[in-house]
């Protein structure tokens, strides 16, 4: 069954968490004797075990003499089938499990011998030291095999300087140093740890005792094979490291390429440049748009193309935008390039309204059915409700203004402005808080205006001011003087329709890509499972 994995290796490697799954597979195969060939000329395992038992007997006075299960008694508890040249042992047959010393708070100092605590094996860089001189057993030196058994747990080969290992760490000291590969044992415990973690279920390490650890079944190969396994694991893990690095590079390159090609389209200098850029994109379309992130970039580019007038044709029959704007008392200029288009300042397109917070002391203000919109509600493009509501009394009793449907809402203060510009259109009458502003344009242009502002998100974010304590603000002067280009009304409708069509296709593609990603992950899991179980 490993053949199946080998056949589909790229598929597994490319899956979400694929390399992680491959690493698990390598370890699992290693401890089942499926990773390297067996050599019948290896010294038989029984001989090695006899030497180890003799060494253990010689060291007996060291630990407490306890009646332990002999390897034969383990017959009933073999987790899986191992090659006939291997033998199941108890951990206690191979190593002595030594407890780390529990230090009192006052014994942990700022200098002396380093005290290795569980945290230091994982995330902590903070070290304590000790001036005590202890039994040699209490120290760990490079090469020693340690096992952390508190909330974070797992085996480690110590690589640091000579230290005193703390409580919640065991040192696993081989009875016979020359007869056990510590690395092999480490890798086996690593595979076991993953299995314990994966089975979850609330079995925390507080249920793991020294006695249980000593009884842990360990499958032992002949010594020479132990070393061969370790060498092969290292080789394959190094391959995984390279694969991972390559993948990361490839992903980064892909993202950059997609953005560069889209930019060349939206920033094309003339018609010829535009045609060439589109040609390039079209040729490589299937290799470029393979991820949800790339589709998002495409969606933003479509918006930008839309408001640049490149998505639908300009028709001479359309009534110029300026006429419509003049009827609505909006000051506008003729667009320099696009026929029938006009330009105006955002603030000139309609009335501008601000927000407020009605007095929190008055409970009656806050029980009502008028949505009170704040930045946390601005996650959708159409606002028909909000988390908080106010009453009509609040409208009358405070400086809150009623904002009619088909108005444009924008966030003008808040940390979100550091990287985004939330904008939406209202589907009903609402009120807003003081971190937002509203624009009430002629209702006919509301849909196009929303799209225009969405297309302009990067430009808006560039206008944001950061104060000394980090608050982001879009000051009114900059916001309301922002230049808006408006096509004739008829063209606006055509543009909005075309954009809706393209967005719908993009969203469907994104959904399929997400499903495919899940399927891919499941496929990788199953292929790995099969390879281990075979």
């Amino acid at each position: 069954m490993t053949a199946l994995v080998t056949k589909h290796l790229p598929l597994v490697a490319g899956a979400p968490d694929g390399i992680k799954k491959l690493r698990t597979l390598i370890l699992e195969l290693a401890v089942r004797g499926k990773l390297v060939p067996h050599d019948p000329s290896d010294e038989p395992i029984a001989v090695l075990l006899a030497r180890t038992a003799a060494a253990k007997a010689a060291l007996q006075p060291r630990g407490r003499a306890k009646a332990k299960k002999s390897p034969n008694e383990l017959a009933g508890s073999h987790p899986y089938v191992i090659p006939s040249s291997w033998k199941w042992c108890c951990l206690a047959d191979l190593v002595e499990v030594l407890n780390g010393r529990a230090y009192k708070k006052e014994e942990l100092l700022e200098q002396g011998t380093p005290v290795l605590r569980v945290g230091n094996l994982f995330t902590s860089n903070h070290w304590y030291y000790s001036n005590l001189t202890l039994d040699e057993d209490r120290y760990c030196v490079p090469g020693d095999l340690l096992y952390a058994w508190s909330a974070s747990f797992g085996p480690f080969i110590w690589t640091g300087e000579r230290s005193i290992y703390h409580y919640h760490i065991w040192k696993l000291a081989p009875h016979s140093d020359a007869d056990l590969s510590r690395r092999y044992l480490h890798d086996y415990l690593q595979a076991q740890t993953a299995a314990i973690k994966a089975s979850g279920h609330g079995v925390s390490m507080t249920h793991m005792t020294k006695e249980k650890m000593e009884q842990l079944p360990v499958p032992l190969p002949p010594l020479a094979e132990q070393h061969r396994i370790v060498a092969k694991v290292d080789e394959l893990m190094a391959l995984c490291d390279r694969l991972e690095a390559d993948q990361a590079d490839a992903e980064a390159a892909h993202t950059q390429l997609v953005q560069a090609l889209l930019d060349s389209l939206t920033q094309a200098t003339d018609a010829a440049d535009f045609r060439a850029s589109w040609q390039r994109l079209s040729e490589h379309f299937h290799t470029l748009f393979t991820t949800e992130a790339s589709i998002d970039a495409l969606k933003q580019a479509v918006l930008q193309l839309a408001v640049m007038g490149t998505l639908v044709p300009q028709l001479a029959a359309d009534l110029p935008a300026q006429d419509f704007l003049k009827c609505n008392k909006v000051a506008a200029d003729e667009h320099p390039n696009l026929v029938g288009w006009a330009t105006a300042q955002l603030g000139a397109l309609g009335s501008v309204l601000g927000g407020a917070t009605p007095s929190k002391a008055n409970a009656s203000y806050w029980i009502g059915d008028i949505p009170w919109v704040s930045p946390k509600d601005m996650k959708r493009p159409v606002i028909d409700d909000a988390e908080d509501h106010v009453s009509h009394a609040a409208l009358e009793g405070s400086s809150l203004k009623a904002i009619p449907p088909r108005s444009i809402l924008m966030v003008v203060r808040g940390m979100i402005l550091a990287h985004s510009f939330p904008v939406a259109v209202t589907a009903r009458m609402v009120t807003i808080n003081q971190d937002m502003k509203a624009l009430v344009p002629p209702p006919e242009i509301a849909d196009y205006l929303l799209m225009f502002l969405q297309a302009s998100k990067p430009a808006m974010v560039a206008l944001v001011d950061r104060s000394s304590h980090g608050t982001c603000k879009l000051i009114s002067e900059k916001l309301w003087s922002f230049k808006v280009s408006l096509p004739p009304l008829a063209e606006q409708h055509r543009i909005v329709a075309k954009v809706d069509e393209l967005m719908a296709l993009c969203d469907r593609l994104k959904a399929h890509l997400a499903e495919a990603r899940q399927q891919h992950a499941q496929l990788a899991t199953v292929l790995v499972e099969q390879a281990i179980a075979a």
């Binding site: 199946l4 589909h8 598929l11 279920h201 609330g202 018609a271 535009f274 045609r275 589109w278 079209s282 379309f285 299937h286 748009f289 479509v302 193309l305 490149t310 998505l311 639908v312 044709p313 002391a361 008055n362 409970a363 075309k498 069509e501 393209l502 296709l505 993009c506 469907r508 593609l509 399929h512 890509l513 499903e515 495919a516 399927q519 891919h520 499941q522 496929l523 199953v526 292929l527 499972e529 099969q530």
Partner: protein, 489 residues
């Protein structure tokens, strides 16, 4: 000034006092003062209705006499009065009066503590309470009830004081499904701040109380026991806020400290709704109050044994228990065996792990059972987070509407829940299966497992098919873009 801002001002004043350390102590300080004020307001009403009314409190200890006047006692005189006269006097109130009301007041003050050290600041707090709260105004009383709930919720965030508070949506759902009738005795043997009991009171009032006689029946049917001082104090006040005139049936006691057999038939009740404390250990010796088979020191386990004992034949219960109980072995297995043989554990609602956020992320389950008949099968229901919600938090708490799905699916106990159907969140497990698993009730939703295939050939085929549809869709998108962009300029 609104009640919420009164409470905020009071807490600000208390922060200036060196004796009050932390949210739990601030609430403990506030509650006994609120209690005396509330009690005084209630007395004013009783005096209007009954000319012969005499107060259970000695005159000098009544709120109206030592606290109500804003120009009254203050400073060292006030502090000394409270510590040396008021508290000792109320703690030995039985010398003055033995009415149920006196019993309640004494019970409250047994548990109360005056943390504040500054008489001046105490006077400021008292004045704020006096001007901010008129308990006899019905609307204010309701608003106050809500504010009290908020206080209790805040207490939950104040570190390990959270153990007394089960989220409201959970208690409401449990009470609703147990549906205690007007005259059924309802008990919570670990009542904490009284959440289950107040839900029961509201449930009965809404559905079954129609006359003043009914109200009296209701008041006589509510029982609670709480061992810790602060929550007992909070529960007593909570009862008064919900219209229990004299909450002397909320006892300050350790339910587990009486031998199991000492609870006789007359102690038994019709309904029990409870959330016993998890992970706690009782002191050595408590377990000897229980039969040998169930001798454990884990609090939640002892409570379950007690609850089974306290139910009348045919009595119904709903209990919150953690996953650890469902899969635990040893004595837990024996307790589960008893539960499934002597009672019909008909439903287990499995809650996600965010329900008790931020206090703890523990996974909990609601066990519904009826005493007097054996279990045939156990229905499990996996409660889902609402769409788009990954976990519960202060800004996005659990809501009682979320349980509508379970309520629609629930069916009727009278016909053995015949209308229940298995679906992606509901499944049943027979008694035999559970017995075969050594009474392990940690049954996972089988539906999820079914959907996901483990056959590589099948998965490979599905994956290839998916890639095809993606390629087709992409081609469509490319064509649509081309059509838009390749026009002659």
């Amino acid at each position: 000034m609104s009640i919420s801002s009164s409470i905020k001002s009071i807490q600000d004043i208390m922060r200036k006092d060196v004796g009050v350390d932390g949210d739990a102590q601030r609430i403990g300080q506030l509650v006994w003062m609120l209690f005396l004020k509330i009690f005084d307001d209630r007395e004013m009403e009783w005096e209007l209705l009954d000319d012969n009314y005499t107060s259970p409190l000695p005159e000098q200890y009544r709120w109206r006499n030592w606290a109500a006047n804003p120009e009254g006692m203050t400073g060292d005189e006030l502090k000394s009065f409270i510590d040396n006269e008021l508290f000792p006097g109320l703690q030995s109130l039985e010398k003055h009066s033995t009415t149920p009301a006196a019993y309640v007041v004494r019970g409250v003050f047994e548990d109360a503590y005056n943390y504040m050290k500054s008489g001046q600041l105490i006077r400021q707090v008292i004045n704020k309470i006096q001007e901010g709260v008129d308990f006899n105004k019905a609307q204010e009383r309701h608003a106050f009830g809500d504010m009290y709930e908020q206080l209790l919720r805040d207490l939950q965030n104040a570190g390990n004081a959270g153990e007394f508070y089960t989220p409201r949506p959970v208690t409401e759902f449990m009470v609703r499904m147990v549906d205690p009738k007007l005259d059924e005795k309802v008990m919570d043997p670990a009542c904490g701040t009284g959440g289950f009991l107040t839900c029961t009171i509201e449930h009965k009032r809404e559905r079954y109380v129609q006359t003043p006689d009914d109200e009296r029946t209701l008041q006589a049917s509510i029982f609670g026991v709480e061992k810790k001082p602060l929550p007992h104090l909070l529960a007593t006040t909570n009862m008064i806020l919900h219209g229990i005139e004299v909450p002397n049936q909320i006892k300050h006691d350790n339910t587990l400290s009486r031998p199991l057999i000492s609870w006789g038939p007359k102690d038994r009740v019709d309904c029990i709704v409870a959330n016993p404390p998890f992970g706690g250990m009782e002191e050595d010796g408590i377990e000897t109050n229980f039969p040998a088979a169930f001798r454990t020191r884990e609090t939640a386990d002892l409570f379950l044994v007690l609850i089974m004992h306290l139910l009348k034949d045919g009595g119904r219960a709903a209990v919150v228990l953690p996953d650890g109980f469902l899969f635990g072995e040893g004595i837990k297995s024996r307790i589960k065996e008893k539960l499934l043989t002597e009672c019909d554990l008909h439903t287990v609602v499995r809650l996600p792990n965010g329900v008790f956020n931020p206090y703890t992320g523990i996974k909990t389950n609601l066990l519904f059972f009826t005493k007097g008949r054996s279990t045939r099968e156990v229905w499990f229901y996996e409660h889902q987070y609402p769409a788009g919600v990954k976990t519960y938090s202060k800004t996005r708490p659990m809501r009682v509407e979320e349980f509508k799905v379970e309520e629609a699916w629930w069916g009727c106990e009278a016909d053995g829940f015949a209308s229940r159907e298995a679906n992606e969140f509901a499944w049943k497990v027979s008694l035999d299966e559970i017995k075969a698993r050594n009474w392990n009730l940690d049954c996972k939703n089988p539906h999820v497992g079914e959907q996901v295939s483990h056959d590589p050939a099948e998965l490979l085929a599905a994956y290839a098919k998916k890639q095809d549809s993606i390629a087709q869709l992409r081609e469509q998108l490319k064509a649509a873009l081309a059509e838009a962009l390749e026009r002659d300029a």
